[in-house]
């Protein structure tokens, strides 16, 4: 426990020496607070329709104006951060767990199972990501649940590959062989030796994939294939703005900005984390 | 003796290591004349590679020249501009590197590279350059030189590659040839062949050859004169025979005593020099070797030793050398 606190302190310290990483941390904290405190800080109900005041320019009451149904854009963007972060954190978290389990099974299981898994991981990774996502959406129908399933399906194989590779290396390392020679069970070896060594790189890769997932969520919602309206998502706000881009460009500008800032923030934080924790780790994220 | 082709005077070079400087080379002085082979010998970390890099003017970016100069045919290399320094490299001073496995670019054929290395030759067509390179490959004993020109480096054995890099170094007919550990990365039979080749080349080579090595045997086989280095300093210099049979510096004696080739009988314990290299960030006040020297007294530890001339050709950096 002590070492965990200590390493966290060290991470924060080395992040503070890297200005871009620090900026990333700042942006991420800002968006996290925005998402958590959405009901407290948003000036209006994001779903409240008021047709009289549609397409309003920014004013004191509506800082970022209103959309085609008279809904307050600022409130919708604040709630949009809630959508973006909850989906991306849940989905990458679940994908990480799936990848961890699959990778451990492939690394520790019998040889034939390993071969089957590797072929499967390679097949999915060799699909163009967007094609696979669209195929799954066609079958399951668009929606938040589908979005999470899609993200898990496209990212878990990559994580599983990473974990499998790490597992195979560690399995033949001297300290694990020594433990085995003393009759340790597989469970003990996994819990005591593999997990601590494998979780670090996985967390870094997950953090570097979060901006990609945020982008995918917004992109699919923009295509009307992700989060269903009226739930606010940066993607569907962007779409609303796009349809009225000639008459009222405020909406599109306002919806694009948080998306850019969030992906930049998470990317800088992820890079900073990688540099601080494991500079040798190769970039093998979703991109 | 004639004017030296290469003369190094009081050269001191350090490496910037953030808060302090590592003094890799301290007041090194050296001369090389046309037609002679000189050896620079010493253990790892004695500054001999820094010296070699300085001669060819390819020091690491963090190297700092603290003092001294290198005169090539009377002109100070450091006073030349970057372009003139660059033209000197390869054309007048060439180098054979230590590791033949990585000396050549892996994705270009040997021929491509040997032709490219002649870029300072003006008014010579590509096909003439090719012929020059092929002839040199034949000269260094490569069996089928025109085939070898078409090969990639990894397709040749280590010994062949080292022959090729010697050929490359001779391409521009340089006046100074620096061989940095030319045989260290090779196995014993290859080593013997390369030494044989270098000896053979001596006969018709006009310039000076400088062989940098930690291997006393290589020096004995090849060189006329030798400079012994310790902790960034030249500690003794002289003709090979004198140095081997009558070393005056205690370090030279210890080094020769440690050479397995000199053991006359079976010894249960290999001789070593006790102690470690001095800290090169803060070099000792007196003689660098004092801490490891069996003869050292108070004087050695506090006062910098003088150069003691033993004969016309031999001198040593030691308080005790005259005794």
């Amino acid at each position: 426990m002590f070492s965990a606190v200590e390493s966290l302190m060290r991470t924060v310290k080395s992040l503070s020496r890297d200005p871009m990483g620090f900026l990333g941390l700042g942006l991420v904290v800002m968006f996290l607070l925005m998402a958590m405190l959405a009901p407290l800080i948003s000036p209006f109900d994001p779903l409240k329709i008021n047709v009289q005041s549609k397409f309003m320019e920014p004013s004191l009451a509506h800082w970022l104006g209103t959309d085609q149904l008279g809904r307050d854009t600022l409130s919708r963007i604040i709630y949009g951060s809630r959508t973006a972060l909850s989906i991306s954190l849940t989905a990458t978290g679940l994908a990480g767990i799936c990848g961890l389990l699959l990778g451990l099974v492939a690394g520790f299981g019998p040889r034939w199972l390993d071969n089957v898994f590797v072929l499967l991981f390679d097949s999915i990774s060799s699909l163009p990501m967007i094609m696979f996502a669209l195929a799954v959406i066609t079958v399951l129908g668009p929606g938040t649940g589908t979005l999470i399933v899609v993200i898990i399906l496209i990212s878990a194989p990559g994580y599983a590959r990473l974990i499998r590779a790490q597992t195979l290396t560690l399995k033949n390392s001297d300290f694990v062989l020594a433990e085995k020679s003393m009759g340790a069970s597989s469970g003990r070896i996994i819990l005591l030796h593999l997990l601590p060594n494998v979780v670090g790189p996985l967390v870094i890769i997950l953090s570097m994939d979060i901006p990609v997932v945020i982008m995918l969520e917004a992109g699919l919602s923009y295509l009307n294939l992700g989060v269903r309206p009226p739930t606010p998502s940066w993607g569907n706000i962007l779409y609303d703005g796009y349809t009225s881009i000639r008459s009222s460009p405020t909406l599109v500008i306002a919806a694009g900005a948080p998306l850019v800032l969030a992906t930049l923030g998470f990317t800088f934080l992820g890079e900073g984390l990688r540099d601080a924790l494991d500079p040798k780790l190769q970039l093998m994220s979703l991109r | 003796m004639s004017e030296a082709i290469l003369r190094i005077e009081n050269l001191s070079i350090g490496y910037d290591a953030g808060i302090c400087q590592i003094h890799a080379l301290r007041s090194a002085t050296l001369e090389a004349h046309a037609g002679e082979v000189i050896g620079i010998v010493g253990e790892s970390g004695c500054g001999k590679s820094t010296l070699a890099a300085a001669i060819i003017n390819l020091l690491a970016p963090n190297a700092i020249i603290n003092s001294g100069s290198i005169y090539y045919q009377g002109t100070d290399i450091f006073s030349l501009n970057k372009d003139a320094q660059r033209k000197l490299r390869g054309q007048d001073i060439a180098m054979v590197f230590q590791d033949p496995m990585t000396t050549f670019n892996p994705v270009l054929t040997l021929g491509d590279q040997l032709i490219d290395f002649q870029q300072h030759l003006e008014g010579v067509s590509i096909s003439e350059k090719r012929i020059r390179a092929t002839n040199l490959l034949a000269r260094v004993g490569i069996p089928d030189p025109s085939l070898c020109m078409k090969r990639f480096p990894h397709e040749l054995s280590g010994g062949m590659r080292q022959r090729a890099s010697i050929a490359a170094a001779l391409l521009m007919q340089p006046n100074v040839l620096v061989a940095d550990e030319p045989t260290t990365a090779l196995d014993v039979t290859m080593e013997a062949q390369i030494i044989h080749l270098l000896r053979e080349l001596r006969s018709d080579y006009q310039g000076a050859i400088i062989v940098v090595t930690h291997h006393l045997g290589v020096v004995a086989e090849l060189c006329d004169r030798v400079y012994v280095m310790y902790a960034g300093q030249v500690v003794e210099q002289g003709l090979v025979d004198d140095i081997y049979h009558a070393p005056k510096h205690p370090y030279t004696s210890a080094l020769i005593a440690c050479d397995p080739a000199h053991f006359e009988e079976h010894t249960p314990i290999l001789p070593t020099i006790a102690g470690r290299l001095p800290d090169l960030m803060n070099p000792p006040q007196g003689c660098s070797f004092a801490a490891r020297c069996v003869l050292a007294n108070e004087l050695c530890r506090t006062t910098v030793p003088p150069w003691v001339k033993i004969s016309q050709t031999q001198s040593a950096l030691c308080h005790k050398a005259s005794q």
Binding site: L127, P128, M129, M131, L223, L238, R287 | L58, Q119
Partner: protein
């Protein structure tokens, strides 16, 4: 080399087979039959029956799978549920637009990216290097469709320099050129950053190699050292990255084509997904996956040709 080529192609075929199987399985894993999903809840039974027969859903599964593969291999990908046109024809019509977009995007990204990467190497360790690094990361992480929409707003709506939608008049290269500028910019921008970064990393690795010291020891100029000796080695890993990255070019293309209402694979498949037009979605996914696998395989073969070390390992 030939054995390697055959081996790589067989592996690509195997992967394609698994992908097809997985996709086919997916349709049967979900509740509800594909015909009613495609037609929606308000379809008449006759219409449904018609579709079931046309899609061959009334036959046993094994024979369906067999027919699916047989047809796919012979180039018959079925018919568009709505327009009744052959799927393959629709794909072949859309493909050149997307291909052109990808090539133009990659071309400008390659030129600028390699240039910026080399610049970062020449200025390594200086503030310039740092600025280029931050610029690259920013370009990588900015979503392409946001770039597309902002570009559309600035250059088409406000400045009116470039057309907002479409791919230009057929037979009018100038209007086609104007129409591809913004899409290619949006698709390529993240690649500029990505390539700059890759080239910088692999160049720095190569510049430290002994053979670069050899080239310097022969007095070659810095420009010759960087461009003839270092870039030749450093460009090899970049090729495989570009090939693998074709998948992400396709992703950006899907979004960007929609933003600019530009015909192409992206527009085709998005509208098919929205209308649950199964045959079109399946066919497009299949063709694009096959194309992607071909690109990756060709890149591997190209690397084997460019790097004599790899070539020899394969020969033996």
């Amino acid at each position: 080399m030939l054995t390697y080529a055959i081996k790589r192609s067989l592996l690509a075929l195997l992967i394609l087979f698994v992908v097809m199987l997985a996709m086919y399985a997916m349709v049967f894993l979900v509740p509800g039959d594909p015909a009613s999903i495609a037609l929606g809840p308000r379809a008449t039974p006759e219409l449904k029956q018609q579709l079931i027969e046309r899609m061959g859903l009334d036959q046993p599964i094994l024979s369906q799978v067999y027919h699916f593969f047989y047809n796919a291999v012979t180039g018959d990908l079925g018919y568009d549920v709505w327009s009744k046109r052959p799927v393959l024809a629709e794909i072949l019509e859309a493909f050149p637009y997307t291909f052109l977009l990808g090539v133009v995007a990659l071309a400008w990204a390659l030129i600028l990216g390699v240039f910026l990467g080399c610049a970062a190497v020449i200025y390594r360790g200086t503030p310039m290097d740092r600025i280029l690094g931050i610029l690259s990361v920013s370009m990588i992480s900015v979503p392409s469709f946001v770039v597309a929409i902002y570009a559309l707003l600035i250059f088409a709506v406000w400045l009116r320099w470039l057309p907002a939608i479409g791919a230009g008049e057929i037979g009018d290269p100038w209007s086609q050129f104007k129409a591809i500028i913004m899409p290619a910019f949006a698709v390529g921008i993240s690649w500029v950053g990505y390539l700059a970064r890759m080239v910088r990393a692999s160049m720095l690795e190569v510049m430290g190699a002994n053979h670069i010291r050899t080239a310097r020891a022969f007095g070659l100029s810095e420009r010759r050292v960087v461009f003839k000796h270092a870039l030749r080695v450093a460009i090899i890993p970049t090729i495989s990255i570009v090939a693998v990255g074709f998948g992400s070019i396709l992703s950006s293309a899907v979004f960007v084509e929609t933003v600019f209402s530009r015909p192409g694979i992206g527009t085709l498949i998005t509208s098919a997904v929205l209308k649950r037009n199964y045959p079109v979605v399946m066919g497009t996914v299949l063709v694009m996956t096959a194309f992607y696998l071909i690109v990756v395989t060709l890149a591997d073969l190209l690397i084997a040709r460019l790097d004599p070390r790899v070539r020899d390992v394969l020969r033996s």
